[in-house]
Symmetry: C2
Subunit: 602 residues, 2 copies
């Protein structure tokens, strides 16, 4: 299994850790300490040694921020973790608050008043630092970089070692573009912006650029490393020599020199001393910017690889289609099995996860799952990023909904799909709200839009029907998805914060939801590919979405009378396509189930 079901370490363990941390803070004359979830690479997925937020707070979610003061402490999380976070942390120590940045200032004013706010310069990104700096009046709060990471000092010898997994080749047959050509395109961008070099610290951007993959963090095949790309000539990749075989060395040789990791800081200082203009991404560690010195020509901006990585080439697009067809077969077989098995009364959240992974393994192509499967029945479904454990698992019961959000890492593509299933007969409210979510999902699927449209400009299409009935969901509608890379990638995002322009070739999720706390959760998620602009008889060519994900949407939850003719046509066409593309690869019994599950709604 790519996933464990162990309960998280008891929250009781955090009290002595916080006490030790406060001692260290007092010695460093800090009035508060900021502890972000991010690691030295600002990657969403961090290795065990960088699970500092979880170590110090007990909170195991994928995003968050703690602030520890001498007598008070707060954990800031987004809406996805509003239910989970209070359950995981020691309420005697941590107050749980919403949305990190907006709420930080009033909390600090109320609890710290003024003083020195410490942070680890390596785990703070340039972008985050700029936000804190803009937020906090300089006269009241002094942001102080700490010499070492204070949480690591509390952790001491129990802290796991940093990963040093082998580097793997991502061949041209999958990558679709040679690293040397990617490097040339990135260097052209660096030159156009009049920089002398760019510093790369985002693991997925580095993997994309050099056509490599790794196994340093769970589920997402990245290598944790840093790189420097000069405006001409080979790049430098800072990576332990023992991680690289001769074959990999030869693969990298045309585009990059391999350097020992400990030479990264001297290399930055060399750029500084030579007065070079260095492009630093908003996601780059603030420590790098500091090491580059006060060069007037160092400017923080988007990473030069981000958009190029997000725009998939034709090989990657073909790979994504194949991966989704394969994954759709596994998910469809799972759904067919589930429909038969729930009546036995033996299916619980964990057996469902195990069975789904088994179907994916039977494809013979599964390298990993994209993330720990979210498998929530009844009230557990309302926990947006629920992680099932042996302590929380529930049996799937009649009259409840079951939400399962999962994905597979295949060498030709990364998948991510959510389906919500009626166990027994759903209530009228469940059907109505499911259909509102579906209407939003269809509205986004059918959208057409001109060049220049950003994710934020499409997000409301997925919410309008829910808003009209006083409902909403407290998470974004869509995230970018990598090509055998991170299942969450930027710069594109269909959300309130989605300011990057959507461009043809990008892959996004389309996943509106609805969560009734303590009762049930609904989410319907397909991945979609942004299509090339085409002439539809107007003034401007318009882009749209090609749906990649292939699996039935539970017909029993659709209140057909709430769909208009166009929505109905979309749903029927989608189901017809699912049937046509998957039928040949399932058993006769599964095919019968698939035919019923994808039959016309009216």
């Amino acid at each position: 299994m790519f996933q464990t079901f162990d309960p998280p370490s008891s929250t009781g363990a955090t009290a002595p850790r916080i006490a030790k941390l406060r001692d260290l803070m007092a010695k460093a004359k800090l009035d508060a300490l900021i502890i972000p979830r991010s690691d030295e690479y600002n990657n969403e997925y961090v290795p065990a040694c960088a699970e500092r937020l979880s170590y110090i707070t007990g909170f195991t979610g994928s995003a968050g921020l703690a602030v520890v003061a001498a007598k008070s402490a707060a954990l800031f999380v987004d809406g996805r973790y509003a239910v989970q976070a209070p359950a995981e942390v020691d309420g005697g120590i941590f107050e749980v608050k919403g949305m990190a940045h907006a709420d930080l200032k009033p909390w600090l004013i109320a609890h710290v008043k003024e003083g020195r706010i410490g942070f680890d310069p390596r785990t703070m990104s340039v972008g985050a630092f700029l936000q804190y700096r803009a937020l906090l009046p300089k006269a009241d709060f002094k942001l102080v970089p700490t010499r070492a990471n204070l949480v690591d000092r509390v952790w001491g010898r129990d802290r796991p070692a940093p990963p040093e997994g082998p580097v793997l080749i991502h061949p041209l047959s999958l990558a679709g573009q040679a690293s040397i050509d990617k490097l040339a395109a990135v260097q052209k961008q660096i030159r156009n912006l009049r920089f002398d070099a760019a510093v790369l610290t985002a693991p997925d951007n580095i993997c994309w650029l050099f056509n490599i993959r790794g196994c340093d963090v769970a589920h997402n095949p990245v290598v944790l490393a840093y790189a420097i790309v000069p405006v001409t000539g080979k790049a430098q990749l800072f990576l332990g020599a023992r991680r690289v075989t001769g074959e990999v060395k030869a693969w990298l040789a045309p585009v990059t020199k391999l350097k020992p990791p400990e030479t990264f800081e001297p290399a930055l200082k060399e750029l500084r001393d030579a007065g070079k203009a260095v492009q630093v991404g908003f996601g780059t560690s603030w420590w790098c910017e500091k090491a580059l010195g006060k060069s007037k020509r160092t400017v923080a901006g988007p990473d030069p690889c981000g958009e190029a990585k997000a725009i998939k080439n034709s090989t990657e697009i073909e790979g994504a289609r194949a991966a989704h067809r394969r994954d759709g077969v596994a998910v469809t077989r799972f759904l067919a099995w589930l429909d038969g098995a729930v009546d036995t009364g033996t299916v619980d959240e964990i057996t469902a996860v195990e069975k789904l992974e088994a179907f994916r393994r039977e494809t013979g192509a599964l390298k990993e799952i994209s993330f720990p499967t979210i498998s929530g029945s009844g009230p557990n479904g309302a926990i947006v990023h629920y992680r099932v454990t042996r302590a929380t698992t529930r049996r799937l019961k009649r009259g409840e909904l079951f939400l399962i959000d999962s994905g597979g890492q295949y060498e030709d593509g990364t998948t991510d799909i959510t389906r919500t299933i009626a166990i027994g007969a759903p209530s009228a409210e469940m059907r109505r709200r499911f259909t509102l979510v579906l209407k939003g999902m269809i509205s986004l699927s059918r959208a057409r839009f001109p060049a220049g449209t950003r994710g934020v400009d499409l997000d409301p299409l997925a919410r309008r029907a829910l808003w009209a009935e006083g409902l909403n969901y407290d998470h974004g509608t869509g995230h970018g998805v990598g090509s055998y890379l991170n299942v969450h990638e930027g710069p594109q995002s269909i959300s309130k914060a989605g300011i990057a322009e959507l461009k043809p070739g990008m892959i996004c999720s389309n996943e509106p939801g609805y969560y009734k706390n303590g009762a049930y959760g609904i989410r319907i998620e397909n991945l979609v590919l942004i299509t090339e602009p085409r002439d539809v008889g107007g003034d401007l060519p318009v882009m749209g979405f090609e749906t990649l994900t292939l699996a039935p949407i539970d017909r029993r939850l659709i209140a057909v009378e709430m769909l208009d003719a166009e929505e109905l046509a979309w749903a029927d066409a989608y189901h017809a396509r699912v049937r046509a593309e998957l039928s040949a690869d399932v058993s006769p019994g599964e095919r019968r189930w698939l035919e019923a599950a994808t039959s016309k709604l009216l």
Copy 2:
């Protein structure tokens, strides 16, 4: 008439002005000079003495930015002026480019490479300065404040004197809240943010706070003045003594001390020397921030009056409803007259403007028009911010569309309405595209949304139907509207840039459009009031829009078969309400016209 029809001064006049300006630039060792449209108050509406952009470029639009270099020059304008700007400027001197900020950097890199970029520190806002600073690499471009405004030096004695109109009382019966209570609320905000004082430079915010009005700029009844609001005690209003009668002095006395304008700069320096923390708005002149010195506690942010002004109180809301009913009568009488008069073949764009103003004057309550009426027939309708002159006016011809965008300033409210009228029989394309615009307008009118929703989150609802057919419009969907104040006010904006939260009591326009260059323009505009949140049976109370504007939408342009049942119901209900509210106040002949114009669509 509140409007003239004189053609703008010939563009030929700009060449010698530019030559003189370049001489002054050379003496000041500037490689380029930034000339914004904004004046010392960063108000959208500037007095004649501050029409510097128009003086130096010939461009008369309400927003734009020129950059003059030694051998090249560019004018940056937004999509509303894409047609007008090239027609107004000397193409031998000025290259016209889109969207100021995004395009400025590549233009400077291409034409100036590096050097000293001058700007007048008084006409540059803090927000604009921060944008330029972030955009331009410091090593390449040095932003240099000029001692005097160089355009003014070219202008010399021909430059009109700054306005010094009388200050007028805006009584409590119209304002709905005493100035002393507004001041207390603003001071509470200043205290909560831990400032010692705020500097106000936005004329409409100052007028709102002190319950005064003025006549310093055309159409918008503001006083051009500065103010300082300390955290406790009376404010200081910097204003020439001869502008204030004894009565006005007594009106202001409880809330503010009157100070001579020339003491504003010393007052800022006093704050600086006392080490005060001063709140400076993004819209404040950069020169003020500079005068306040390097105080660590001076932070740029939203103006403390902006949101409070935008959220209308119940008196202002009742006033707005009354003003819109009154204005609706005038517009409806105009539309009825137009329908009868076009057949005579004598109506041109100017006579239409004159007639509409006459109907508004007949209400007996018109203080001013809200802005020069945009009266565009045929291809002139495609010029988004078209200003009709004797040189451009066209007769209204059969088979063409006529777009008229106008508004009235009444003491109880400001109106702004656009209707597009079919002259003779419209083409199928005109009807189709008009109906797509209408669908967007209805979609926004019917929207419900939870607390926290921003304008950017609603803007796409107005565009979706147009996008689906490869069409769009290059302007925002809605701007805030003042209460007998600026017809464009912030912070709310329904547009790509609308990041302010929409709150109950705000008034916005809802004005999608479509423009076919050289052929016709379509815009349908109603003002809407954001309603209090109400329970609709879901988890969250939701806000919506109450339409304020009352006038028929041309039925001859509606392709009824393109509307769904809900859109049809909205249109019929709107027309029924227009008829019910206006019928009593029009003549029998006009009533017959109104009844036909508002009859059911099906």
